[in-house]
């Protein structure tokens, strides 16, 4: 592991509470935080010329990708196109061999590690739902809640009434409130997916990365998730990797197709689906 600078205050976003009451979105999740991160150029994430290779295999090949503030972007592509590797680069799990990754206009993601990036405002949902199975649903969300996350603060931490309310609010929105005291390991697959999304939301991230969020969900759950994400867009930026084209069609106005580690096509879902190269990649040569 290479030397990592300590968390600097400038990495942390200033909490913004606009008094007009417009800070909350339609379903009461998340707060508007546009002023916290320097996004004067309108992009929340800029990946430029990112290359990653594993033992000679180029997982990402000079990838360029920009996500606008408040945008909901879907990423599709065949297996091995580099979707998960791209998320690893953004969240600090994998260092790119070359290229730059900027969060907002000022934060260089290639020089930060996982927890600094998370604190700066990027939340990630894994492909396989990952929650703390031995803890209750409530405790899971409590740990994710945006607060001082140092060792000493955790020793003395007491949950305030406002924080408790916030957790219950999110659990209520995700229909997990009746299960708040159940052990997370006992939840169904779909419920775990929602719990993990809830854990992301209370982190109040600027950018959410969601790796196959509706895998294993019932049709009703998928529909609910689509509504949820549409409600989040605008206040947060979302990047959703998904194979379910029906789901992609129902949420995305903008789709990026990845193939062999770089962008193959970009545009609306109809445009992309009409693109001959995309059809070729998906249906085989």
């Amino acid at each position: 592991m290479r030397g990592v600078p300590p968390v600097h205050p400038e990495f942390m976003l200033e909490p913004v509470f606009d008094n007009l009451g417009a800070g909350r979105d339609a379903i009461g999740l998340g707060q508007s935080r546009k002023a916290g991160l320097d996004t004067r150029h309108g992009t929340v994430l800029s990946l430029e010329d990112i290359s990653v290779s594993f033992d000679g295999f180029k997982a990402l090949n000079a990838l360029n990708l920009y996500i606008g503030v408040g945008e909901l972007r879907c990423i599709i592509g065949p297996n091995g196109a580099g979707k998960t590797t791209m998320m690893d680069v953004i969240t600090g799990k994998t260092r790119p061999d070359s290229g730059t990754a900027w969060f907002g206009d000022t934060l260089d993601l290639t020089r930060m590690n996982e927890y600094q990036i998370a604190q700066a405002g990027i939340g990630r949902k894994f492909q396989k739902p990952t929650v703390f199975e031995a803890l209750t649903v409530f405790e899971n969300v409590e740990l994710a809640l945006k607060t001082d996350k140092s060792v000493w603060a955790s020793l003395a931490a007491r949950l305030g009434g406002e924080q408790r309310q916030r957790i219950e609010e999110v659990l209520g929105t995700l229909r997990l409130l009746p299960l708040a005291q159940r052990q997370a390991g006992l939840l169904s697959h779909g419920q775990k997916q929602f719990l993990e999304i809830g854990m992301l939301l209370v982190q109040e991230p600027q950018l959410l990365l969601l790796d196959e969020p509706v895998a294993g969900m019932t049709d009703a759950e998928t529909e609910f998730t689509a509504e949820l994400f549409k409600g989040l867009a605008g206040k947060h930026s979302l990047m959703v990797v998904e194979h379910d084209m029906g789901f992609v069609g129902s949420i995305a106005d903008h789709v990026t197709v990845l193939h062999q580690g770089s962008v193959l096509a970009e545009g609306s879902l109809e445009q992309v689906q009409a693109d001959e190269r995309v059809v070729e990649v998906y249906l085989g040569r």
């Binding site: 998370a118 990630r124 031995a134 405790e139 945006k146 955790s154 020793l155 854990m199 982190q203």
Partner: protein, 359 residues
């Protein structure tokens, strides 16, 4: 050892009885040293042998508690906690050797015809400095080892193997006469502690009471820690460290703190063990000792705090009976016990009792 039966009853009758049983256990432990002060011909007199045996087991129980904190909660299986225990013991032993030697050199140094104390023995004639060493030696070693291990993200079985190697290296180092800790004989023939005769009944009783006090204090501390947000974070480190990092926590700090705390608790237990048992030598660092500590925790029940105390008591109680009754079968029995517990009692004795009480 009829404690498991008591616990069964406890689980059935609820928390009030748990408290009552706990209070009785503590009262018994406090009464034991007082009874040892009775004249030798009194019917209730507790022999020095019994007092030392129970005191020794209490020290082991503290080690089991410390190991449960790192293994049961943070998921770090240490197979080297014997090293921290022995380091605390050696630090106390240095002071006791200086007390026994008076103004001269400790006996083994004269035997090696050394003319002066090695530099690291400086100040060990002062009890206060010896106490500092009891905390600092295991604490600093754990800090340095943990810093590098957690920085390099070593976990699981690799971490266990490294701790095992560490205690083995420590043992080899302390076996050498040149290291200056008495070689394979270690330290023994202590005379006084703070001017009191170490073999006197009164001194033994006080040391025993101190051990009970340390055990209760450690139990209280561990209980507070594991019930706080810090404790839930340790569980999170154990179950899904990646998720925790992406929640914005740096797991290294949490692991390091609990690891060092655990090592210090072991050091304190070792420091109380040495004056009671009267000897410390490198065999305390042997890998089998540390593995045995893991057996206590597994048998009692990981992540329960009270379970490892029961486990240490049960295994050591059986050991002292077995090694007298069937000396050659003890290790086979211990091995079989470990296999049975791993296969059929993944949550240990406490888990079994809990299951019984909730049919």
């Amino acid at each position: 050892m009829n404690q498991p039966l008591l616990v069964t009853a406890t689980q059935k009758a609820g928390p009030r009885l748990t408290l009552a049983i706990g209070a009785i256990a503590v009262l018994l432990l406090v009464a034991l040293p007082l009874l040892s002060l009775l004249p030798a011909d009194h019917a209730l007199q507790v022999s020095a042998y019994t007092l030392t045996l129970v005191g020794k087991i209490l020290c082991y129980a503290i080690v089991a508690l410390a190991l449960d904190l790192v293994w049961g909660y943070a998921g770090l299986l240490s197979l080297g906690h014997g090293l921290f225990f022995a380091l605390g013991g050696y630090a106390m032993g240095m002071y006791l050797m200086r007390q026994a030697a008076g103004d001269g050199l400790p006996g083994f140094m004269t035997f090696l015809s050394w003319s002066e104390l090695p530099w690291y023995w400086a100040g060990t004639e002062h009890f206060a400095w010896a106490l500092c060493l009891v905390v600092l030696a295991p604490g600093l070693l754990a800090l340095v080892f943990g810093w590098f291990a957690f920085r390099s993200r070593i976990k699981g079985v690799y971490f266990s193997i490294m701790t095992q190697a560490l205690t083995f290296a420590g043992m080899l180092l302390f076996f050498r006469n040149e290291t200056g800790f008495g070689g394979n004989n270690g330290f023994t023939s202590f005379r006084t502690i703070l001017g009191f005769d170490i073999a006197a009944q009164g001194t033994r009783a006080v040391l025993f009471l101190l051990t009970v006090g340390l055990l209760l204090a450690s139990l209280y501390l561990c209980r507070c820690l594991t019930r706080s947000k810090f404790g839930r974070l340790l569980t999170a480190v154990r179950d899904a460290e990646n998720r925790l990092m992406f929640c914005g926590y740096d797991p290294r700090g949490f692991k390091l703190l609990v690891w060092v705390l655990s090592a210090v608790l072991c050091g304190l237990a070792g420091a109380l063990y040495v004056p009671q048992v009267g000897i410390i030598n490198p065999s305390e660092m042997s890998p089998t000792n540390s593995i045995e500590a893991a057996v206590w925790v597994a048998l009692g029940g990981r992540g329960t705090l009270i379970g490892p105390l029961l486990g240490a008591g049960l295994v050591n109680g059986m050991k002292s009976w077995f090694t007298v009754a069937f000396p050659e079968f003890w290790l086979f029995f211990l091995g079989a016990l470990f296999i049975l517990v791993t296969l059929y009692l993944p949550k240990g004795v406490v888990g079994l009792l809990k299951k019984r009480s909730q049919p």
